[in-house]
Amino acid sequence: MSLAAVTASDLRDGEVVFWAEGRWVKRFADAELFNAVEPGQAALDLARAQPTIVVEPYLINLDLEGGVPVPTSYRERVRALGPTIHPEMGKQAEGGLVVQALRAHAGGARSSGRLGLIRLKR
């Protein structure tokens, strides 16, 4: 497994959140990174056991952009940043190195970054 992280939406406010050693953080820069299947899956299992905190946690693939991990999928980068048309809105507003890397990375328009994308509808 390549580099991965666990993301979800906060149940109460719908904000994008990332798993970080047992808690949820709002900045992708603070997300816990996994480079093996087992710990990533274990984190996802723990995340799924928190249905009153988050909605629909899932693993996302990461690439490196100038040495900085960023989501492979453009959709996930937009989630981690905020609307591209409103740089003052969302998490991108505070700027920083990781935000720059997220903006600089290319490709993965929607579908290629999410692990386990093809799932059976329940």
Binding site: L11, D13, P51, T52, V78, R79, I85, A109
Partner: protein, 552 residues
């Protein structure tokens, strides 16, 4: 306009209280997300990329000034100070918190608004002509029939769990401003030779991944039979519509599979055997509804306004505004004023809370307190005196809303796209902004004339790309945003679905490609032809040559 009575109010208040309880149970864990999701969707609450999104119903696109102020207030308190008018005449708030949603529904109920019928597999909010009650073209006021449909369809027990969502449009004018032919049911009011009002009933139109134009199954349905006939159509759909495959569940697929003739036969069979009296609107109720729409007492005004003419001479921007954004009214001395939410550089359909307040104030001062929403994501003041046009223009200008581009190349429909929407493949808004910038010089836009550019960020087609004179569809091509261009679509009375121009182009090639299409049109244009007319006459070839010659 129609004012809620005690029954209407109790329905939405009850619904709001019910949702408050459901949210509490979700937050406590008593309801799982799986159980809660359909409940929140029945109240227009989606979970999007950055937050929850609340879609508020604006029945047939008609708002009072108080309602618009109510929306402005919600935008200010619960969102980031703006809202987004959609291609179904609704309004979406993009930055909503689940825990505050019950309070928002209460705030909506205070101004007789709600979020029912904006999501889920029910009969959705009915689309109608934003010029209803104002244009001389119409044979009747379509809002009367939309309101009847609203009362009949809201929380209808038999039609709340359809195979898929169901959209109805009603127009009463020959010029179709509702995109009736790409609705599940399109209703066109007409008078027959004897002067009797009836509906042409079209079924099975739609966009999305399998676009169809509606087929007429009844040329002239007597108006008093509207609700029973709609019931018959929905019963046939409910019985035979596919529930096994979401992509084949819309009524358009059923109509195509059965054939329009067979579908019509089954509808007629259902209709002739059903208890129509129990369903159709009693005359007394119809009269009550009709009365609610005839309250505007237009003041006498001169058909020509000397003050307007003087103001136009003094201010060329007013002249341009009147030329492009102002349309004739049925009452002498009045006009219909379109407010563009497409100022180049802005987000199509977005309106700040301050702007909503400014429009509400103008509506109160100069427009009998009425506002309409168009499916092209603009607003309308339907009744303005010619003598007041200069003042309205000045008020709009002060609010940054006087862009004179209605119907022109920069008046672009765009879905929220990947900037907000969890279904999108690509962005749509920045594509629209770039094209609008290219045609931002008013002289350039006016020299090109009517040009409807419509952009969708995925195949679901919320941006109506299939019916754009130039349609733009975002696709994910090997992980990059690419855009497929279609030409020759129309959502108006001359409805047609666009033809694919050729291979999709990259994000940064869309505006140059649209520019090349426009240049090709200007070369080929004869006389007063619109872009659409020229395309229909000459076909794809010169446009294809222009775009792909430029691209390579």
């Amino acid at each position: 306009m129609y004012r809620y009575d005690a029954i209407d109010r109790s329905v939405i208040q009850d619904r709001s209280a019910e949702f408050r309880d459901q949210v509490e149970r979700r937050l406590s864990g008593a309801l799982t997300e799986e159980h809660f999701k359909p409940l929140r969707l029945m109240n227009g609450l989606y979970l999007q990329l950055h937050a929850y999104m609340l879609r508020v119903a604006i029945p047939y696109g008609a708002l009072s000034s108080d309602q618009l102020r109510g929306l402005a207030r919600i935008g200010r308190i619960y969102d980031k100070g703006y809202g987004h008018f959609t291609t179904r005449q609704n309004l979406q708030f993009n930055w909503i918190r689940l825990e505050q949603t019950p309070d928002i529904l209460d705030a909506l109920a205070e101004v007789d608004l709600h979020a029912i019928q904006t999501s889920g597999n029910c009969i959705r909010n009915t689309t109608s002509d934003p010029y209803a009650g104002a244009t001389a073209e119409e044979v009747d006021d379509p809002r009367v029939w939309c309101e009847a449909i609203r009362q009949w369809s809201t929380l209808h027990p038999e039609f709340s769990y359809l195979p898929r969502k169901f959209k109805i449009a009603v127009t009463a004018a020959p010029q179709d401003r509702t995109a009736a032919k790409v609705h599940d049911i399109g209703l066109v009011l007409r008078r027959d030779r004897d002067g009797q009002l009836g509906f042409e009933v079209m079924v099975g139109g739609g966009m999305g991944r399998t676009p169809y134009l509606g087929t007429t199954i009844r040329e002239h349905l007597p108006v008093q039979s509207l609700l029973s006939y709609l019931s018959a159509i929905l019963r046939v759909y409910n019985r035979h519509g596919r529930r096994d495959n979401i992509f084949k569940a819309r009524v358009k697929i059923l109509v195509a599979a059965l054939g329009a003739g067979e579908f019509a036969r089954q509808v007629e069979a259902e209709w002739t055997t059903m208890d129509r009296v129990a369903v159709d609107l009693p005359d007394v109720e119809l009269a009550r509804i009709r009365g609610a729409f005839s309250y505007v007492r237009f003041v006498d005004a001169s058909p020509v306004s000397s003050s307007l003419e003087a103001a136009r001479r003094a201010d060329p921007t007013l002249g341009r505004f009147v030329r492009n954004n102002v349309k004739p009214h049925k009452i002498a001395g009045h006009a219909i004023v379109n407010i563009s939410l497409k100022t180049p550089g802005e987000v199509p359909g977005d309106c700040s809370s301050d702007q909503m307040d400014a429009i509400a104030n103008l509506a109160d001062q100069y427009g009998y307190g009425e506002i309409r929403v168009t499916h092209e994501q603009n607003l309308v003041l339907p009744h303005v005196k010619l003598d007041d046009l200069a003042a309205v223009h000045a008020g709009l200008k002060a609010a940054g809303l006087a862009c004179p581009n209605v119907g022109l190349a920069s008046d672009i429909i765009a879905c929220p796209g990947l900037d907000y929407c969890s279904l999108a493949n690509t962005r749509a808004i920045p594509v629209a902004q770039s094209i609008a910038q290219r045609f931002s010089m008013p002289d350039v836009a006016e020299s090109v004339g009517e040009l409807k550019i419509k952009i969708s960020g995925c195949i679901n087609a919320c941006g109506h790309h299939h019916v754009g004179h130039i349609g733009i569809l975002g696709v994910d091509k090997k992980g990059e945003e690419f855009f497929q261009l279609t030409l020759g679509g129309s959502g108006a009375e001359d409805a047609s679905l666009g033809d694919v121009l050729g291979p999709a182009v990259a994000y940064d090639q869309v505006t140059p490609a649209v520019d090349a299409l426009v240049q090709a049109y200007l070369r080929e244009r004869r006389g007063a032809e619109r872009f659409l007319d020229t395309y229909r006459r000459v076909g794809l070839t010169p446009f294809k040559a222009a775009v792909y010659a430029e691209a390579h």
